[in-house]
């Protein structure tokens, strides 16, 4: 399949700060997830492939053409920025129609496209309110609406699910998947693994400005599964519960909190532990207040993988 986006030795630094280093890759149609902790270089990569910033070294081609200062390409690209900035004094309707106007559509087409985009993100009822009065979730949906309103072939989304409620997330994920079925290219970044997992199996892992790994999401899942996990359980009888874990070979460590009302369990098999927990709670009549996984985030995984 012909790549839609191609980068060669792409590098970018801001003064002494490295943004991205020596990134060579090809992106084909479908959904590709750019995954990495905050500050990893995801936004820099997305800005480079949309020609918003210049690479210090390397090239970016979109559909075989250089992207920088090639404004024609933007008729087929939709970009949803991560940052929460708008023309605050505009209404949602004015914002979307104004940006559509810059795509040289006729007035009637602008109206119908804006309506469709706002309908998709469920902002039609609030379209005449000024953006300043929008909630975080509404602003996020409005950013998404302007990125899809002109029906682009390539959609670049920088953290599109941040600030959305669970229902809103589900809808956007569903929509992104429907774009994939239409044969479009969707490049989506996130620092939350389950978000990307819900959208695609193809991922690129970025860490400290470098491509750390790329390919099928199962690969990163396997890496994560070898990472010792810490589970915190806040319950009525922490010591009684702890005694049940000692004999299990996949439990590596057990710590108690100073107040004795919670315990931290370190395991190398999270799935086995989670399947054991319900029966343990029921058999021992333990009342559970909270189960959390303090290190279940990408930063912890990356720290582990790079051997910190």
């Amino acid at each position: 399949m012909k790549p839609i986006v191609e980068t060669k030795s792409l590098s970018k630094w801001y003064g002494n700060v490295l943004g991205l280093s020596d990134v060579t890759l090809q992106i084909e149609p479908g959904i590709i997830g750019i995954l990495g902790p905050n500050g990893a270089g995801k936004s820099t990569f997305l800005k480079l492939i949309t020609g918003q910033i210049k690479p210090n070294i390397g090239t970016v081609k979109v559909k075989g053409q250089q992207i920088r200062n090639n404004y024609h390409l933007f008729s087929i690209i939709g970009f949803c920025p991560e940052r929460d900035f708008f023309y605050e004094e505009m209404t949602g309707w004015q914002f979307v129609t104004s940006l559509l106007k810059l795509h040289h559509f006729s007035p009637s087409e602008i109206g119908s496209r804006a309506n469709k985009a706002l309908e998709i993100v469920e902002l039609v009822e609030d379209k005449d309110r000024i953006i300043r009065s929008y909630s975080r979730g509404m602003r996020q949906r409005l950013k998404f609406a302007q990125a899809i309103a002109h029906d682009p072939e390539i959609i670049v989304l920088d953290e599109p699910l941040s600030g959305l409620d669970p229902l809103g997330r589900r809808k956007i994920i569903h929509l992104i998947k429907s774009y994939k079925r239409e044969g479009r290219t969707i490049i989506v970044s996130s620092h939350v693994l389950p978000e990307i997992e819900a959208m695609t199996k193809r991922i690129i892992l970025i860490h400290q400005g470098k491509i750390f790994a790329q390919g099928d999401i199962h690969y990163i899942r396997d890496l994560i599964d070898t990472h010792p996990h810490i589970i915190s359980i806040k319950c009525s009888n922490a010591r009684q519960l702890a005694s049940k874990f000692i004999e299990k070979d996949y439990i590596l460590k057990v710590h108690f909190s100073s107040s004795n009302d919670s315990l931290l369990i370190e395991t190398n098999n999270r799935d086995k532990l989670f399947s054991l927990l319900p029966s343990l709670f029921i058999e021992n009549k333990i009342e559970v207040d909270e189960i959390t996984s303090p290190d279940d985030n990408l930063q912890a995984v990356f720290d582990y993988l790079v051997g910190k």
């Binding site: 020609g51 940052r83 023309y87 505009m90």
Partner: protein, 270 residues
Amino acid sequence: MIQKDTGKLSFFLTSVKNIYSVFLSMGRRAKKTKIFFLFSFLPVVIAFIIKFNQIFSGRGKIHGFYIFSNLIVVFYLQFLILILALFFGTSVASEETEGQTLTYLATRPIPKSAIVLGKYSAYTTLVILMMSVGVLLSFLILNVNNLGNFSLYRILLRDVIVLALGIICYTAFFTFIGTFLKKSILVGLVFSFGWESVIQYFPGSTQRFSIVHYLKSLLPVPRTGRFSFLMFRLEPSPDGLAIFMLFLITAIFLGLACFLFSQKEYILED
């Protein structure tokens, strides 16, 4: 489908027109415009106070049109149009970078130079309208006893045209400043009330390095009376040359602004 321009010029002009209409409409509603619109009424208030004082104090010897002409030079030419052009001109680029909204414009199928020209045209239109309303009201207030004298309207028209030329030229200069300097307002203030205020009084050809020299050359201002110092040492350029120079300065700085905005990399800060 990638939109490839069949006629490059017509595509460019359509892009400018679209940016113009978006930002004219947005600029009209902007809080900044409302504040500056009120600010541009300052000379109207002054005109009203002067007239009120003349009527009720009985000291109405000074001709209304003489006061109006000086108001044009003192408040409009040397203060108001500079302030308006400075704040609107520098904001062409800086409001996009400081407000971090440049992303939305930079990812549209329009040349970056069209963004500069479209926004510049929209803001210049707004500033000219603001100035014209104020000038017209000031004129009517100060010449309320003499509104039947139609020769005054010809001079009023000339004043408005010269001030509009000043706005066109200054806004182009400040647009240029705004595209490459972070502290563009500060530099603009130094230029407006430093360079422009001083250089114009230099004898010989030095004064021709200021924009205000060409504007003053075109203005029908009385050279005598209390405010004659404002025309101190003015060695006016011929009308044709003054107009040519104002358009040349506008074209040069707009061209530079378009070039810089297209080539410069704006890193939007966190």
